[in-house]
Symmetry: D2
Subunit: 365 residues, 4 copies
Amino acid sequence: MKIEKPVYYGDYLQLPKILNAQVPESSKYGKPAHDETLFIIIHQTYELWFKQILHELDSIREIMGKPFVPSTDLSVINSRLERVTTIQQILIDQIRIMETMTTLDFMEFRDYLVPASGFQSLQFRLVEATLGIKPEHRMEIEKQFFNSRLKPEDRKQLEMAEAKISVFELLEAWLSRMPFSNFNGFDFWGEYSVAVDKMLKQDHEIISTNPGLSDQLRTMELKNLEMTKETFATLLDADKFAAWKAQGKVRLSQKAMFSAVFIFLYRDYPALQMPFKILNSLTEVDEKFTTWRFRHAIMVQRILGTKIGTGGSSGHEYLKSTTERNRTFLDLFNLATFLIPKSITPELPVSIKNQLDIVYDSFQS
Amino acid sequence: MKIEKPVYYGDYLQLPKILNAQVPESSKYGKPAHDETLFIIIHQTYELWFKQILHELDSIREIMGKPFVPSTDLSVINSRLERVTTIQQILIDQIRIMETMTTLDFMEFRDYLVPASGFQSLQFRLVEATLGIKPEHRMEIEKQFFNSRLKPEDRKQLEMAEAKISVFELLEAWLSRMPFSNFNGFDFWGEYSVAVDKMLKQDHEIISTNPGLSDQLRTMELKNLEMTKETFATLLDADKFAAWKAQGKVRLSQKAMFSAVFIFLYRDYPALQMPFKILNSLTEVDEKFTTWRFRHAIMVQRILGTKIGTGGSSGHEYLKSTTERNRTFLDLFNLATFLIPKSITPELPVSIKNQLDIVYDSFQS
Amino acid sequence: MKIEKPVYYGDYLQLPKILNAQVPESSKYGKPAHDETLFIIIHQTYELWFKQILHELDSIREIMGKPFVPSTDLSVINSRLERVTTIQQILIDQIRIMETMTTLDFMEFRDYLVPASGFQSLQFRLVEATLGIKPEHRMEIEKQFFNSRLKPEDRKQLEMAEAKISVFELLEAWLSRMPFSNFNGFDFWGEYSVAVDKMLKQDHEIISTNPGLSDQLRTMELKNLEMTKETFATLLDADKFAAWKAQGKVRLSQKAMFSAVFIFLYRDYPALQMPFKILNSLTEVDEKFTTWRFRHAIMVQRILGTKIGTGGSSGHEYLKSTTERNRTFLDLFNLATFLIPKSITPELPVSIKNQLDIVYDSFQS
Amino acid sequence: MKIEKPVYYGDYLQLPKILNAQVPESSKYGKPAHDETLFIIIHQTYELWFKQILHELDSIREIMGKPFVPSTDLSVINSRLERVTTIQQILIDQIRIMETMTTLDFMEFRDYLVPASGFQSLQFRLVEATLGIKPEHRMEIEKQFFNSRLKPEDRKQLEMAEAKISVFELLEAWLSRMPFSNFNGFDFWGEYSVAVDKMLKQDHEIISTNPGLSDQLRTMELKNLEMTKETFATLLDADKFAAWKAQGKVRLSQKAMFSAVFIFLYRDYPALQMPFKILNSLTEVDEKFTTWRFRHAIMVQRILGTKIGTGGSSGHEYLKSTTERNRTFLDLFNLATFLIPKSITPELPVSIKNQLDIVYDSFQS
């Protein structure tokens, strides 16, 4: 290899472009506001990080889009997801920097920015779309915003991203390809179903005999148990599950959900260690975006109060409403619902164990 | 001074007591669960930090309970509040430690803990009460829990704490004693009212002439502006404000709210620097507890799913509902609503400026 | 299962013991110092977390002490190590809480604590010993401290811990059992040695031809390259390596180091994914304790200055000197030294690849 | 006010420039390395934050450069410093993102970057210079680097920055203008000197009588006490202090140091609350840059090992050596050395108290 041209730090990072991209509007009006620089720079760092997140997600989409996910790529997927969550933690934490700007400081330049708004961040919408948010998951108000506030070329780019296969869809396809519901002749779901019954009976006994419960609490508990029973029944019944899905209570297919449950229950087998890590990292991605949305809404409320903006940003109420929406991997988040204690988890037949195992002993002789 | 007895680290910290207080229930049943130790220890650290927070809040209550808050104690109050928020940040961050425990790990000992529940943390309720949550702010379900789940002696201690004067009440009294609404003959609120009108007119003009707004958005904006107008009218009218208060939309009295607005607007005068810091720190206390509640609810959902517990903890839905409740200093949080830009903030008369100032020049000759 | 006795939150956590273990010395002298409570409580939380870390490390030691580490336990080891690093991050972050105590606040009770000192934390020493710090790694001053400041029973407990097999030793044994240096007839180290030569030649060419280097820098670079060459030569030569080890420049055996390099280079094969994660987590454990020591030393300097304490704590100079000492897994930290680019890493024969792989395709049909 | 032109998010933030400034070198060589994007983006975020820090420091320099620092600007200075430390915390925390890049990932593009290096970050050097690092504080190796590695125009800009008056110098001038050493006829330093003697005598007594000290420790302690005595003697003697300064053991003038001690001891008086906050924030700035340097050095060691780079970055050994150098406000950091307990701090005469006070009672009638 021959290096043709020496590389210098500033040129490499294109600092002249990066560091000359802060032009406060307040200065244009002859009333420079000290804090506008912060406002610009923090948003620029957010956009840089969004670009990095897209870079990671796109590469994951490429790997998972192969007919078979290569075994040596599983750790790559997971490392990149862990990088995404590490970045997300910084996105959350650096809200503290924004909060060093008080309302009065913000008021000095706020009016000049009409109608700019964070809603117009194309990249954030691309991240959502890449993860798996489709137009049908959006609130009406969001769609309106996209129509009225996004530039036509941005809207088009978003629509193209929404049309592509998402990380969610690839995950579902990957999980659906797995054969765990009836694995080499082992009827796992039959056995799981038996175990669930056993667990629910045990729960019933605990509630019935627990001397710490008042009659009122006991009645409530027993009612709750009936609901839990129904939840499991829905998981295990194709028609009920389909109805759930139709109602939007779940996004994954029943088959994919089965595989996810299987992976969680037998996560310690070498073949499932990395798949488990991946599901966990996606759960973390979901959790961190949810947390970011919440912290962001709170910060907006603190700086803007409940006043409604001249630029039409209807503010933190909208933001809070999105906290619980737009959660692509909520199914993984709620997976805990379907887990059963180790003590009653069906033992796998030796032949299946062997398939999921690597004989490390041969390395340790 | 004479040291009578040497002090040793372990004795001083009473480590034999502290480090022998972890007795897993699962071990009593002969099925020791590895993660139960974590579960015990993390809750114990939470309780230690709650004790520390109470220690700080109690000392603040003592200082603010004096007929006049001594000028040299203002920085003490603020330092202690900043300590509280520093602790709160750790309370939030260490949820990550809890999240290293997976659902399956938790299931190994969960059933043994019935009906123990974080609801029974007396100290957390004392923190809420000390800050200013009274029984009338509680949700019905919370009161029921206190009746059914708290031990009688704990319930009594909570009732005593609720009966005491809270940090919120002391803050209100302190702000109400301030004379800023009509300060030494200067009719601040008259001037403020004029400035608000000016600002609203300006907003009207911006919305009307802004070429970036579609007709639809413009109409929406003008409607929003009417609402903003009404909000200010409510602040400035004693009867309307009283109606607001009766509806629970605001907790501070109108007089206290006036002082808070005054402090925010003229925060840079030496006499107001520390009061501003204190208001800000209380806002932060509120923000951080809100964030903690949210993160806690999310963590519970992740570990428990939507399944309803055998111990009757109805889980994360209840927890989420408290995120927006129990916000003692929400008024300070929403104060941004009533601020006006520096450019139209009424100039204070020299005599008042002098009263709010310290002539530092004399130190710098 | 039958729950025999209801469990209550406060009893379960033994809160009466935990929350009554704060007895300020300053109160005994009739001069209660407000901040002494913080000082006690923060140290108690540290001790609780140390106990949790020991709980995790002990369980890891048990697993790794088996003749063969079961394949299904690798993820358990790693999860527990990740928990340890998550706790360590909080140990670092909560130093901020300590820093809310100023020098003057500390001075109000400091003299009463003589000669208590953090040096006397037995558990911290047990953590070090469990990880792998033996008496021969200690500085002379530390040993003196242990003799003069630790209670005899604590000293004995530490000696017993030092005599036990440590996580470091178990790691070394595990790595040494691996057959990768000459794996099923594949002479990996021969191939690696060839690749290293190739890399060093390439480096030589880059330095020689890079137009961005001045003559002076080029000369310096070439000299550096000679040193790098020597480093690799040492790794690959049993005698030189032994000399290195004797000088304390490296702690792992040559064989163990080989395996670690192999795992890092081929980390994406399913059989090596979890071993790689484990090595990485141990690196992180080392990094975080190093960071903690540094932050701790800085905090002590900030609160105590350079003044030497009446209790004999010679303060931050000693603390800083331990930052770079007592690094059990420094070898893993420095492993980067021996890695080579993917492009020249020897391709594994198919038979070996198969041994390291899991055929996931069979799951994805 | 009339908004002439609508402002859109993407244009306002100049996103086309910002988001098209990532051009990996590896792609130019036809071997695109996935992680190079991260490497570019994280450095760009660092540079954006450095720009923001410079923006804050420059504004502080402007305020402090006035003949008298206006009393209403003290809180502005402090808020901006607190913003700087909030940013610094993110600079430290986001090192975790960099650490998601492993050595092997870095090796895929490292060789293409020769001789680019973080040493060439002009802005970081400007931050150092603005804070107060002058050429005479630099290590020889740093100066050499500047000569050989910085572009001539960057070197010139750095020299210009070094020639300007720094925040350190402005702080020293501000502190020196304060009259506290002999304030309105009150001989503070005489009284302080008496108090110090008293404290040292007390320390002597404690050491002599403390039953917890062995003879050996007692002897050591008494020797330490002699050193402490000497330290105080140096502070109080103009000639000895000058000698200290000449040796580089201290940077502030004796007069400035006196004022700083005065402010720390009487920090709760309204006139000193904000000056105390400012000194504290500067201490924090120093602490956080020191921590950042340390974490950065550790990260470099982890990714590069001890191998010396082809680009001449001699790596983490150099970086570690700067951790303790380049500490502009080390004097404030070490100020704890000169503080004395409240119980023996000289009581201020009423006339001086009044000067330092604001009569808040008049606000609270």
